[in-house]
Amino acid sequence: MQVSMTVNGRQRSDDVEPRLLLAHYLRDVVGLKATNIGCDTTSCGACTVIVDGLSVKSCTLLAAQAEGARVTTLEGLAGPDGELHPMQRAFREEHGLQCGFCTPGMVLAAIGVLADNPDPSDREVREGLEGNLCRCTGYHNIVRAVQSAARSGPAAGQVPQGPEAAR
């Protein structure tokens, strides 16, 4: 079947199996490999992306269900000149990642947390990220990164609209 959506600001249309998960669509069809898959029970959040402004676990959606949506993955966060998104910058400065496997999902989920609450407490960040598992950092520096990003201004809770579909 045919699905069309905007991924990181680029309009695309692909022929896919009806049962194809959005996570596999992004990785195997679009070729954006930052989105990781860490479980088969929608428990880990490694696959989190932003769909129409909301952070979503991309293994819980079929590609077909994202028809017409605007999807943002980690690859779509930095500016065209390579300037890091405030959340990316904060993760780097606060050492919010080690092996990096949870990171793409964590960064996008963290943006979602700030979209809902621009100035979260330690506890609120933890609750907001409960569905995103990390085995390496003990979450300590992730929480610090999210709070430091929040202090940098409202852009930390927003996704860039990206280069408009040049199709």
């Binding site: 780097r92 990096g100 979450y139």
Partner: protein, 759 residues
Amino acid sequence: MSILGTRVVRTEDALFLTRGATYTDDLVDDRLTGALHATFVRSQVAHGRVLAVDASAAREADGVVAVYTAEDVDLVPIPPGRPMVPPAMTRPWFAGDTVRFVGDLIAVVLTEERYQGEDAAELVSVDIEPLPAVVTTADALADEVLVFPEAGTNLMAAFGEPAPADFFDGCEVVVRQAVVNQRVAPVPLETRAAAAAWGEDGRVTIFCSNQGAQQAKAQIAGWLGLDPAVVHLVTPDVGGGFGAKIGADPEFALVAWLARQTGRPVTWVESRSENLVGMLHGRGQDQVVAIGGRRDGTVQAYSLVVDQDCGAYPRLGPVLPRLTVLMAPAVYAFPKVHAQARAVATNTTPIGAYRGAGRPEATAAVERAVDLFAAEIGMDPAEVRRKNLLPAFSEPHTTATGAVYDSGDYAAALDKVLAAGGYGELRAEQARRRERGDVRQLGIGLSVYVEITGADNGLGAGESAGMEVHPDGTATVLTGTSPHGQGHATAWAMIASEQTGIPVDRITVVHGDTDLIPRGAGTMGSRSLQQGGVAVHRAATELVELARQRAAEQLEADPADLEFDLGSAALGVRGTPGTGVTLAQLAEQEPLLVRTRFDAGGPTFPFGAHLVVVEVDTESGKAEVLRVVTVDDAGTIVNPLLAEGQRHGGIAQGVAQALLEEVRYDADGNPQTSTLADYPFVSATELPSFELVDMATPTPMNPLGAKGIGESGTIGSTPAVHNAVIDAVAHLGVRHIDMPTTPMKVWRAVQQAQQEGTH
């Protein structure tokens, strides 16, 4: 000022945060074009006789290229690989006669597309006649049902004799307790993955997620009977390992073998459900501690008996209790210490290393024992510890079990953590809550630990490093270590930069390619900095020396008259400005590179003390961790940002074991925690932010003064959390609760203590 000791942010993150790291399943490589997808069929039965495996329907399914079962594989079964393990305990590549755990390999399906594999695997019909399963160490030691009948026993290894009958003679008080150090799942966020392709040159390139390419290559070549020269193993980025990715797994070798059989590249990535039964588990010890001494708090004798569950096949299981026994004396000056261990086979997932691997189990046992002793004599546990700690030492100290501690000041670590935590005030608050009979009681837990890191130091393997400066002034560092989150790309660049003056962001660190780096021992056992980092230090030093010789020839000067200027990375004649020649210029004339190796004189023994505060709801049994305060002394710190990250992650895994995580089996050996929905992996909400206190006692074992830091957090935090939860309900009559201290177990312990109390 030296760059060492400063908080340099990671160079690897620029890529990790924008394009993502490249894990095995992310590879886009010409060699893997058109790869087949491997899907394994695994046993759903813990122990049973295989009556029939019928793959005919699967072979007809959409997209299936081939199916292999036991009868299609002519490889020699995998030997135990440990001299102490009975040779009959071999592992077949696919179970042909007997399945030995839920997850044992039965067949593999190769398909054109990923999704087709799952469909086809379900069509492989497997007929198994179940046998009684050996699930616990007690089952195993009974030797009634044998995991390997040909071996005649379930015993894989044994260390030491039972303690003599008079061991506790003369003690006023003796406390005994059975203590479970439960089986846990490592759960690196990246599951296992491998890919392989054979080239026209007759060589195979294997990509796989592991903690040391050279070791993985040697194992795979050995198992498949290949000349090691034809195997090129590449380690892409790795999404966490925690010990469970040490070496190669049989599945990796099978991927390479299947690629040869089919003449096509093959890839495999396991699902999480497959990972939770197929990847090695950790811990899994049943212990008995006994501690005796005087009522004034002096401990006179301590004994530990360990029964190690190794799972169905020998991996690191039979070796782990040796480390537990070695570290049994811990931080104490106990006059008598005795330790004994047995390691047994069971019908469960094989046990391997998991963050700490044998040492957390030793610390957990002794720190629980000391608390039991303190409770029994009614003395503050901090006081009992202080009374029995080894005095500070800077000359090597040899323990009752033969470990040679390099340097330590355990009392200072304890004092620091008590001060930072505000111990006196915490005890006062606890007393107030007890007095009031609050529902939410405070628990305060302590641990003081010492652990062995770089246990392979001085045994000859050492670690390799290389460095090359390029004509454009950039440099490449080659290392035999295998980072998977530790930040070696940054730390090794800092070490090389400090010696050569080349900026960190102009140094590329390369690891995990056996063609480029034939020798290497990898990353495990908190060895990397003290072996591999020091090897890089040596490589950089030797490179400057080589440059000095070349520059001397060129400048027609005595090498001793040349001065190396770090700011310009140039050598010039002392007192004659403008004569300098840079490393880059020298590299332009002739490649400027060195290869070297470092082996430390012996292991190092980091130590520390943790203080944990929990709140326990005595009505529901739920424990919440309020504070974790830690002193972790790992000698000289190269990059505090990275060292703190290691501590954070380690602490979290310790809290997880003490409070939540456990791999459970039912009586027939069926896993009860085989998805991430069932396995209680610790999340952000179950942890507080951590309070880290600095302490650094350099080791004399290497020129950087560094000890290991990867596992300390886990070793210290597990018993501190465990002790804190029990402490919270101790006044209600509770003496001990096994880990994980789940609400149900805490609630039951309180109920039981109260019933006993009223009789």
